[in-house]
């Protein structure tokens, strides 16, 4: 985390640019007029509450279903992504939340699944060499590529999933909740990996619910709320409170109150706990905007 290349971004053209993208399912507008830019060598965190439209956005980019309106510009060209194959051919790789690895196959088998070298006489040696090269490039800590994926830890599995997405030499990588269900050390491992992707000049979109992870690696944060853009922030000049406010749509809620109370920047407030007496002390200061009951 030594370099923050966010400064040099504004000049270069974005790798991915979405303008006025909308998508509805029946009567429900899942996405309305979304705008999103991602540059090469930039990590953009996509945050939002459940139902904010993050997954729909990812599905549009990964070709699961096309948008209803708006344009997607990738690498300077207007594109329409009809299928997962389209997305892969363009250079958009998606690492889904539930890793999608085959436990019974080895690391090499999983990395090259669906694009094995020499389909009628598999070139195992070359595949193994390339696997090592790729994993070394990511400084991945995998002891052997000839062991079944089942014997790897959560972080190592996530590493394999990310490494697999890199095999097609993509320009944009979408990580859907890469640290969910991972331990402290594995989370750090994956965040290091994201850092390395940026150093290698890739554009990264990372979806996460974990504000600490978002702050740790992202250059910018795009907030979605109820299917609309709710602000894009540069990581270095936004506080957790601002982010949570943007996500929840309220400047005054339990989380911010608790944060103000304790004076810490942590986002550990429990939504189930009602505000207690000190919160009422601050009530006059909070002014006229009344968000919480009582």
């Amino acid at each position: 985390m030594s370099t923050l290349p966010a400064e040099r971004l504004e000049s270069s053209a974005p790798v991915l640019s979405m303008r006025g993208v909308s998508k509805h399912f029946g009567a429900v507008a899942a996405l309305t007029d979304i705008e999103l830019d991602v540059h090469a060598g930039e990590v953009v965190a996509l945050v939002g509450d459940n139902g904010a439209g993050k997954s729909t956005l990812v599905k549009i980019l990964s070709g699961v279903h096309p948008q209803d309106a708006g344009t997607v510009t990738f690498d300077g060209k207007d594109v329409t992504i009809h299928s997962p194959v389209d997305a892969i051919n363009l250079g958009i790789a998606t690492v889904f939340q539930d890793l999608a690895l085959c436990d019974n196959l080895t690391v090499v088998d999983n990395l090259f699944l669906g694009r094995e070298l020499a389909p009628w006489r598999l070139n195992e040696v070359e595949m193994e060499v390339q696997s090592w090269k790729l994993l070394r490039q990511l400084s991945a800590k995998i002891p052997s590529v000839r062991i079944a994926v089942a014997s790897l830890s959560g972080g190592q599995r996530q590493t394999v999933a990310i490494a697999r997405s890199l095999l097609g030499s993509p320009k944009l990588i979408i990580l859907d909740e890469p640290t969910a269900a991972l331990g402290v050390e594995q989370t750090a491992e994956v965040l290091n990996l994201v850092e390395r992707l940026r150093e290698n000049g890739l554009a990264v979109i990372m979806i996460s619910h974990n504000m600490q992870d978002v702050q740790a690696v992202s250059d910018r944060v795009a907030v979605l709320r109820l299917g609309r853009n709710n602000g894009t922030f540069r990581m270095k000049d936004v506080s957790t409170d601002d982010l949570i406010a943007a996500i929840t749509g309220a400047t005054d809620n339990v989380v911010t109150q608790r944060a103000a109370q304790t004076g810490a920047a942590g986002a550990g407030g429990k939504p189930g706990v009602p505000p207690e007496a000190p919160a009422e002390d601050r009530q006059p200061a909070a002014g006229t905007d009344e968000g919480s009951e009582q």
């Binding site: 009628w120 089942a150 014997s151």
Partner: protein
């Protein structure tokens, strides 16, 4: 690696650089890996070989004729037909599905060959092709219903079991049995065709040489690419074991009539399927679909295509097995493919080590499994026991194999080899 002074001047192979990797080099290392594997529930062929030795010892003690050349020649001939059917079962089990109708399909194929060849006077090749084509269409129907409606293969093929048994009876007509003429190629192939002694040794030599050279060239390629090669001692050891087993078996069988061409045909099919499973993209996809269907789909594998190819292969192998059985019996009868054919084929695949849970197994399990089943059948026949005992004992062995499968699966999970 920290205490290895040699690491400074000798470059370590790319795949052995991680310091957490337990170093297992050379012949002794390979043996150690093998022991650890078995402990971890990755049993490989070990239980079958041990089981086969136990079965053979018991029957040999009960009846000294059991391990005679003449009986083993027969045993191999008898195992070819159901073995081929079992090869198809291995295919469906690898994708985590099942085909319960292989017996009926094999009987139907025998009936089709009987009717077209004997009654209609078609050339034998055409009759065989027609039977296999019908079976392939049956496989297509299964895969269509499976892919289109998502009905479990268990139920689809259960319907097939009944339906195609009916079709077999209808094709055979009122007589019920069609005898194949003894001068027909098929009957000769099933009963009289044996590999000449000299040719069997040539085949064994070719097999051993082929194994050794392929291992050697693979090892060379790996070293050239900066990976660890296979220890020379291990390669030579395996080659010697293979040579001893092959030459001794051929020599022993040649004391009687020798090795039947039908069994050689079965063995060649096994080798072809082994290559397809392990060295082609299709084979890799089969294991992927059996292991995690959704992952395979997201990796861009045409999952429905894999299922289609598997169901067609399974039905086709069932047909080939049925035709071989007809040749062996010199007849296509109402009883062809009924009785224990179905369960023997499935039991052989499972006993041979192919998991019922999908994604794990090998083509060789059909070969090894059918040897176990056929040994039991042959031994009990020699003891003049009725088929009632045979069924019970085969059932018991199948149960043991399935328990072993489930237990080793659990053990694999706890040892990180699932």
């Amino acid at each position: 690696m920290t205490v290895n002074p040699a690491s400074t001047d000798v470059p370590v192979a790319t795949d052995l650089q991680d310091e957490r990797l337990i170093r297992t080099e050379g012949f002794r290392g390979a043996v150690k890996v093998g022991i650890n594997r078995v402990r971890g529930g990755d049993l490989g062929v070990l239980p079958i070989v041990v089981g086969l030795l136990i079965i053979w010892t018991i029957f040999q003690l009960l009846n000294p004729f059991f391990l005679s050349s003449a009986n083993l020649v027969n045993l191999l001939l008898e195992s070819a037909a159901v073995g081929v059917i079992s090869l198809g079962i291995v295919c469906v089990l690898l994708v985590g599905e099942i085909d319960l109708s292989v017996g009926s399909v094999s009987g139907l194929s025998a009936a089709i060959v009987g009717v077209t060849f004997v009654k209609q006077g078609w050339p034998i090749a055409l009759a065989i092709l027609a039977a296999i084509a019908v079976a392939a269409v049956i496989g297509l129907i299964y895969s269509f219903v499976y892919n289109k409606f998502g009905v479990p293969s268990f139920v689809i093929t259960l319907a097939g079991l009944l339906g195609f048994l009916g079709l077999q009876l209808w094709v055979l007509g009122v007589e019920g049995t069609i005898n194949l003429p003894f001068d027909a190629f098929l009957v000769w192939f099933g009963q009289q065709a044996f590999v000449p002694a000299w040719l069997s040794y040539v085949l064994a030599a070719l097999g051993v040489a082929g194994f050794f050279l392929s291992q050697l060239s693979l090892s060379r390629q790996r070293v050239k690419a900066g990976l660890s090669g296979r220890p020379m001692g291990l390669v030579i050891g395996q080659t010697v074991i293979l040579a001893v087993v092959l030459f001794f078996s051929f020599w022993y069988l040649n004391r009687a009539r020798g090795v039947g061409w039908m069994f050689v045909f079965f063995a060649v099919l096994v080798l072809i399927m082994h290559y397809a499973f392990t060295r082609t993209r299709w084979g890799r996809s089969v294991y992927a679909v059996g292991g995690n269907r959704e992952a395979a789909r997201r990796a861009g594998i045409g999952v429905t295509g894999i299922y289609t190819s598997i169901f067609v292969l399974c039905s086709s192998f069932a047909a080939i097995g049925g035709i071989l059985a007809a040749g062996r019996l010199a007849a296509a009868a109402q009883s062809s493919g009924t009785g224990d054919v179905n369960l023997n084929a499935i039991a052989a695949a499972v006993i041979g080590g192919t998991s019922l849970f999908g994604g794990r197994g090998s083509a060789f399990s059909a070969l090894l499994g059918i040897l176990v089943i056929q040994s039991i059948t042959s031994g009990l026949t020699l003891l003049n026991l009725e088929s009632s005992f045979r069924y019970m004992i085969t059932g018991l062995v199948l149960l043991l194999a399935v328990i072993l499968d489930a237990v080793s699966r659990k053990s694999r999970t706890s040892h990180g080899r699932a």
